[in-house]
């Protein structure tokens, strides 16, 4: 990237769950000012869908909304990643849309075929004056913080529905996040996570013997961003369901470590679990959804929820394979699509019915 010396960069990136903490930690190494867009709200999605192509998948609209809100707060360098589906074209399209809106900014997109090494390399290019080892170190710390967040979130998902006094876990979790955001070193982050996991564990939990265990699989973004799936995990928790989820950002990075060295490494890893229901890769995260659902069914979970943005091709591809899993293991799966509408009634009706069904099933087998 060529640029004038005098220009002061203010970097921004889209939200995804609580990962802004991770991103921030990483980009801090670049010695640039970082603008974190305001938390996703109705306004974000309204802005995003107003300027997006109508039929584009919904993460595009959220991302665009985040960008607009960040630009309005003074950001002038936007980051976007890419992947093996329409996501690979997000960056180009978003750049054009924002330019047409008259914003003055630079846009930086990572390669579609990612692995940790080229991510670090790409980011280093933004400010090559910074020594490489600093970017590397920041990446590692960011990765570690990502793991910490995921650990805590996992605990929350499995337990938040069963608190004796509602709201305690979430309150502590918010403290944890704000402190983790401040942590500067590995030791700090590790100790913090240890401390808060202990606090979480000491919060009284009352789990029934015959509890329902449900897995959430599906498209990366809508799984990770609670606003985009109408807080599906919270809703399930409020019904007293133990929610399991596997998709994480660091998991994605782990899978991609050998990308580029071993051809199709990432894909093959996913495919292994999806057999015999899939023979070939179906793009994006579809293969992984099938693999995870397969695992859930084998492990004797009560059911799975498959979520996707409306029109997500890889996940639409995954559905016939998922239906076969359903049939073979007698394993209920429901399918939900999300778009920019903000009413959650339809989703609640379907989830409630799903919950009733699982409960009836469980009670019947108990007898």
């Amino acid at each position: 990237m060529k640029r004038k010396k005098t220009k002061q960069y203010r970097l921004s990136f889209p939200h995804m769950g609580n990962y802004h903490i991770t991103f921030k930690t990483f980009f801090k190494a670049l010695d640039l000012e970082i603008v974190i867009p305001p938390p996703i709200s109705k306004q974000t999605i309204e802005l995003g869908s107003r300027y997006s192509p109508e039929s584009v998948c919904v993460p595009f609209k959220y991302n665009l909304g985040n960008y607009i809100q960040a630009l309005d707060r003074g950001a002038n360098l936007l980051l976007q990643a890419g992947g093996g589906c329409r996501y690979g074209y997000y960056g180009e399209a978003q750049k054009h849309i924002l330019e047409n809106l008259g914003y003055d900014f630079e846009f930086f997109k990572l390669r579609n075929k990612r692995n940790p090494i080229n991510i670090i390399g790409d980011i280093h290019k933004i400010n090559p004056k910074i020594p490489f080892y600093r970017v590397l170190k920041a990446f590692l710390l960011a990765y570690f913080k990502g793991r910490c967040i995921e650990k805590a979130e996992d605990f929350l998902r499995k337990n938040i529905g069963f608190e004796k006094k509602k709201g305690q876990l979430e309150k502590q979790f918010k403290f944890f996040l704000s402190k983790l955001d401040q942590a500067e070193t590995f030791t700090q982050a590790r100790q913090l996570t240890k401390k808060y996991l202990r606090i979480f564990e000491n919060i009284p939990i009352l789990k029934p013997k015959n509890l329902l265990r449900v897995g959430v699989v599906g498209e990366f973004y809508v799984v990770l961003e609670p606003f985009s799936n109408y807080n599906i995990e919270k809703f399930l928790a409020s019904k007293g369901v133990e929610v399991h989820r596997f998709i994480t950002l660091t998991g994605l990075l782990n899978h991609s470590i050998f990308n580029g060295i071993i051809p199709n490494h990432e894909v093959n890893q996913y495919l292994r679990h999806a057999k015999p229901f899939l023979k070939y890769h179906i793009g994006g995260h579809g293969t992984d959804s099938v693999g995870k659902a397969n695992e859930l069914a084998k492990k004797g979970f009560d059911g799975a929820i498959h979520i996707k943005p409306f029109g997500c091709i890889p996940e639409v591809n995954a559905m016939p394979a998922l239906q076969n899993i359903s049939k073979k293991y007698n394993f209920p799966i429901i399918y939900l699509s999300f778009d920019a509408q903000t009413s959650d009634t339809g989703m609640q009706t379907r989830l409630e019915a799903f919950y009733d069904m699982l409960t009836m099933k469980k009670n019947a087998t108990k007898k």
């Binding site: 709200s41 109705k42 974000t44 239906q323 429901i334 609640q348 009706t349 409630e352 019915a353 019947a364």
Partner: protein
């Protein structure tokens, strides 16, 4: 004066987008009173109307209503107005309704005004279900609008369809396509009953390809919901599935019946007062403005006092709304 053999009844109300249904059953699950009226976009008035009808039918009966259940898309609103103890989704209600009357059933097909669902039952419990997403093609309201276009009374729709020997082929995938297909066929000179039979087939094809996709449809099959009253669609289903289809004479009331059964089995007794008919209920939106989400909370007011609200993302909004209306 307390009677010795006092009977207790259960009221189930199903407020759909198009029609509102109410059923009162006794402890033997026998239907004592029923009502079926159009919602006409005003669920509160529709609820009052069905209550009135039901009350008239109950006048001679000695028992009192002690359980109330609400279902359908306006279940939260009506549930809180009626102070119903059981407020449940229509999928569960339909399944329980069908299972109570026909315990051996394996598949429930249901087509209502705006939605359609399939419920697969295995050994008397719900094993799987699906509901149409996003699009109302092939539901009751589609048939109603097309019958208006052809100027046919919706009640004659089914019997007319049976007259056809060569049903016109009409694309059922999408309402817009179906409609242009229909116009095209009509202008080409197809007789009306062939077009109508084609529409019935289109509804069935759409249903089986959409909602029923990937589901194993096993006999005995029951078909319920408003569209089950349309004999043309029933016959089209029988032909397509190659199996006999049960249609209960109360098939259109099954959701209300189901929720009445659930209320009776799961709820605790609480006397229901019909005077609720005369109370004024009003709904009003309230914008929270507490954060950028700007939740628009829908509040229902009983005699100008805040009763309940929905659509908030956090507790702050609800407290604000309550304060706003109660002051």
């Amino acid at each position: 004066m307390p009677q010795k053999n006092k009977q207790y009844y259960s009221l189930g109300v199903d407020i759909g987008s198009i029609s509102t249904k109410a059923v009162v059953i006794d402890q033997n699950k026998k239907i004592l009173a029923r009502a079926y009226l159009w919602t006409q976009g005003d669920p509160i008035q529709a609820m009052k109307n069905v209550l009135k009808t039901v009350r008239e039918q109950l006048q001679e009966r000695p028992g009192r209503i002690t359980w109330v259940g609400a279902t359908g898309s306006a279940r939260n609103l009506i549930g809180s107005i009626l102070q119903a103890e059981i407020v449940k989704n229509e999928i569960t209600a339909h399944a329980i309704g069908a299972l109570t009357l026909y315990p051996k059933i394996r598949t429930v097909l249901e087509i209502g005004g705006q939605d359609s669902k399939i419920i697969i039952i295995d050994k008397g419990i719900v094993a799987d279900y699906a509901m149409n997403t996003l699009c109302a093609a092939g539901t009751g309201s589609f048939l109603t609008s097309q019958s208006k276009r052809l100027e046919i009374n919706i009640k004659d729709f089914g019997s007319l369809a049976l007259k056809s020997k060569n049903p016109a082929k009409i694309a059922g995938r999408c309402t817009v396509f179906a409609e242009s297909d229909l116009v095209h066929k009509a202008q080409m000179g197809y007789p009306k009953h062939d077009i109508i039979a084609g529409l019935c087939n289109a509804v069935v094809d759409n249903y089986l390809n959409n909602v029923g996709k990937g589901k194993k449809i096993l006999a005995p099959i029951i078909f319920q919901g408003g569209v089950s009253k349309n004999i043309g669609v029933v016959k089209a289903f029988e032909k397509s599935l190659n199996s006999q289809i049960i249609v209960d004479k109360n098939g259109h009331l099954m959701g209300a019946f189901g929720i009445a059964v659930i209320a009776q089995e799961q709820g605790t007794k609480k006397l229901f007062d019909f005077s609720i008919q005369d109370v004024e209920f009003r709904t009003q939106g309230f914008e929270c403005k507490g954060c950028p989400n700007n939740c628009e909370i829908i509040c229902v007011l009983k005699n100008h006092k805040f009763l309940d609200g929905w659509n908030n993302r956090c507790e702050v909004g609800m407290a604000k709304a309550k304060e706003h209306f109660d002051k």
